[in-house]
């Protein structure tokens, strides 16, 4: 006891030269109070309510994107959202149908497959295809991607991207759930067309009555239907979508999804055909033959977090008001511990101080630019309800315009 006290007293003895701490120290020691002081400045000081990183509550970080950086991939992109950076590479590999164990059993006759296929006419616009014939084409068109796992996204955080993640460690729970989120968003938005991934084979028509139908398979019309009957799928492209978060400063999902989207927009698949003599799939070397994927829409993710003035609101059961009572308190009239802010695109510092998250993925379809929500998540609290979600969807659709500009320029 005595040595401990003796050791403590000299440490306490020299008083610091001044009682003021530099802001960076204060931010580390009292993170919650630091952010709160920024967001609710004293009325006298005439400062605007601003986040500790200098952004307004609904302001996103500066975003930049660059595609085609990796030469050994079919498509790649680097997306930076502030200090968070994600690299995504898309690699295409061939999957022969003869390597799929259940292929010959599960496939319906080629004729019905072709009838279905006609509904996904590539000349139609993406929006029209999704809007009009999604019901009819769903089974044939998309079940291949899901059943055969033609899209394989993986996200890696073990790159030394942040102090909490050790390089070379097994994938953390966060990395795994981000991979799952990307995969399930790819499936639910049906972003990639299964038709782009199919490699067809049209056996030559040897019958005498088919002589006039030797035009190429793109020019399908009703007359060609009988000739199309023998067409069969010989192989699929499997897209391996690998995302590396090389720097993590909060909000990994937005950056990762934007990089996946940019990389898929950049992806070119070589022209491939079935070579009957060698019984294998042959790809063309020529870059001019390669074609880009035609994606359905452009869903953009926006994430938010809720910062609450009262750090203890979650566990003090007594003060929890009913939802109805709470709704009556208008957002401007909230004071003291009731105040809360919804912060767009949280950085790592803000993520550590908030429990409630929301993520909204929106797309705009057609000429009228109507906002369609593709995915909406909120979890971890009760500050966000219908009214707040409505505002967040508005912010997300503004963000969509912004991200579209960035992705179209890169």
């Amino acid at each position: 006891m005595a040595p401990a006290a003796a050791a403590a007293s000299p440490a306490a003895q020299p008083t610091p030269p001044s009682l003021s701490l530099p802001p960076s120290q204060f931010a580390r020691l009292q993170p919650h109070a630091y952010l709160l002081a920024h967001l609710s400045p004293p009325a006298a000081s005439n400062h605007p309510s601003i986040r500790a990183n200098g952004r307004a509550p609904s302001q996103f970080r500066v975003t930049s994107a660059n595609t085609g950086s990796l030469t050994h991939t079919n498509g790649s992109a680097v997306v930076r959202v502030g200090e968070t950076a994600a690299v995504c590479g898309v690699r295409a590999e061939l999957l022969h149908t003869e390597d799929i164990a259940s292929w010959s059993v599960t496939q319906p006759s080629a004729g019905s497959a072709n009838k279905r296929r006609k509904l996904v006419d590539p000349t139609l616009k993406a929006s029209e295809t999704v809007g009009d014939s999604s019901e009819d084409t769903y089974d044939e068109d998309e079940s291949h991607i899901e059943d055969l796992n033609l899209l394989v996204p993986n996200l890696s955080l073990s790159t030394g991207c942040a102090p909490g993640f050790i390089p070379g460690a097994p994938p953390s729970a966060l990395a795994q759930s981000l991979s799952q989120q990307i995969l399930s968003l790819l499936h639910s938005t049906r972003l990639v067309r299964a038709d782009d991934l199919r490699i067809w084979y049209q056996p030559p028509n040897l019958g005498p009555e088919d002589l006039e139908r030797h035009n190429e398979s793109e020019q399908m019309d009703v007359d060609a239907d009988e000739g199309e009957k023998n067409r069969e799928i010989k192989a699929f492209w499997v897209l391996y979508i690998d995302v590396m978060i090389i720097s993590l400063a909060g909000n990994p999902f937005d950056a990762a999804w934007a990089s996946v989207l940019a990389a898929l927009r950049d992806t070119k698949l070589p022209r491939a055909w079935w070579d009957i003599d060698n019984e294998t799939v042959v790809c063309s070397d020529a870059v001019s033959d390669a074609r880009k994927l035609t994606l359905r829409g452009m869903p953009v993710a926006s994430s938010f977090c809720v910062f609450e003035a009262d750090a203890a609101a979650g566990w003090r059961a007594v003060i929890l008001p009913d939802a109805e009572e709470e709704r009556k308190i208008a957002e401007d009239n909230r004071k003291g511990a009731q105040r809360r802010w919804i912060l767009a695109d949280p950085d790592g510092y803000e993520e550590g101080l908030s429990q409630e998250r929301a993520c909204i993925v929106v797309d705009k379809k057609g000429g009228n630019g109507k906002t369609v929500i593709v995915k909406m998540e909120k979890n971890g609290g009760w500050a966000i309800d219908s009214r707040e979600l409505r505002q967040l969807v508005d912010i997300s659709s503004q963000r969509w315009d912004h991200v579209r500009q960035i992705l179209e320029q890169c």
Partner: protein
């Protein structure tokens, strides 16, 4: 609509447990809760003033994969906000929730898990109640599918969810807060408002609504609100457990 089939404390060795069967999806979940338990020294147990919540989801037929990690994260975020982790005996300790999917359709790779999520959430609530873990409020969760024609279907099976335009999972607290929303598939906010209203009616009944003809009709379809069913199951169990003391009076 038939209410869920609930058994409280079916496992004798765990601190608390519950089994929950959803009649419409057929999913059957067995959940156990151990709390408070000592966790081994962990790097990620960062908050020394609060309990650490751990959730494990075990699919019935396969080892857990990334889908389970994701759904574990959702359950953990939601529940850790409700557990009073600063009560006596809880800080620096763990609340371990294990949920085994015993019956129903297994989820495939890349599946959203949304059809199973409400059953998993309701099971974990019942198991937490059975283990007497202090919580700030209870909740009830449900899933809804919106078909391409705009019909709202309650608790869809995996096939229905696959062909639906959008699938939504919502959880409401016992005080009426929207605790969780997971929506997937294309929809707009007006659709979502209808979904929210319907989900609120399923979870908490329609006490908060006026005498609208349409709303009263959905009440008949939905039967007893979920929260009431959960409350009743717990009341019955408490009544059975304390029968000796009630009889003695």
């Amino acid at each position: 609509m038939v209410g869920p089939n609930v058994t409280l404390t079916p496992l004798s060795r765990a601190d608390g447990s519950a089994s929950y069967q959803c009649p419409s999806t057929g999913s059957n979940i067995l959940g156990s809760v151990n709390a408070p338990v000592e966790l081994p020294g962990r790097r990620d147990a960062l908050k020394p003033e609060e309990a650490t919540v751990e959730v494990f989801v075990k699919p019935g037929t396969a080892p857990a994969g990334v889908g389970e990690r994701y759904v574990e994260g959702i359950i953990k975020t939601m529940i850790s906000r409700l557990i009073l982790g600063r009560e006596k005996g809880y800080p620096r300790r763990g609340v371990v929730i294990t949920l085994a999917i015993v019956g129903g359709q297994p989820a495939r790779r890349g599946d959203s898990y949304l059809t199973l999520l409400p059953a998993l959430l309701n099971t974990s609530l019942l198991a937490l109640l059975s283990a007497s873990v202090p919580m700030s409020m209870t909740f009830s969760a449900t899933s809804l599918a919106v078909t391409s024609t705009g019909d709202i279907l309650r608790e869809p099976t995996a096939e229905v969810a696959n062909s639906a335009a959008s699938v939504h999972v919502l959880a409401f607290s016992s005080k009426g807060h929207l605790l969780l929303n997971e929506s997937q598939g294309a929809f707009d906010l007006d659709t979502w408002d209808n979904v929210r209203e319907r989900a609120l009616a399923i979870c908490r009944g329609t006490a908060s609504f006026g005498s609208d003809g349409d709303v009263t009709m959905t009440v008949d379809v939905d039967g007893q609100p979920l929260e009431g069913a959960i409350r009743e199951a717990v009341e019955d169990q408490v009544h059975r457990d304390y029968a000796w003391s009630i009889d003695a009076v």
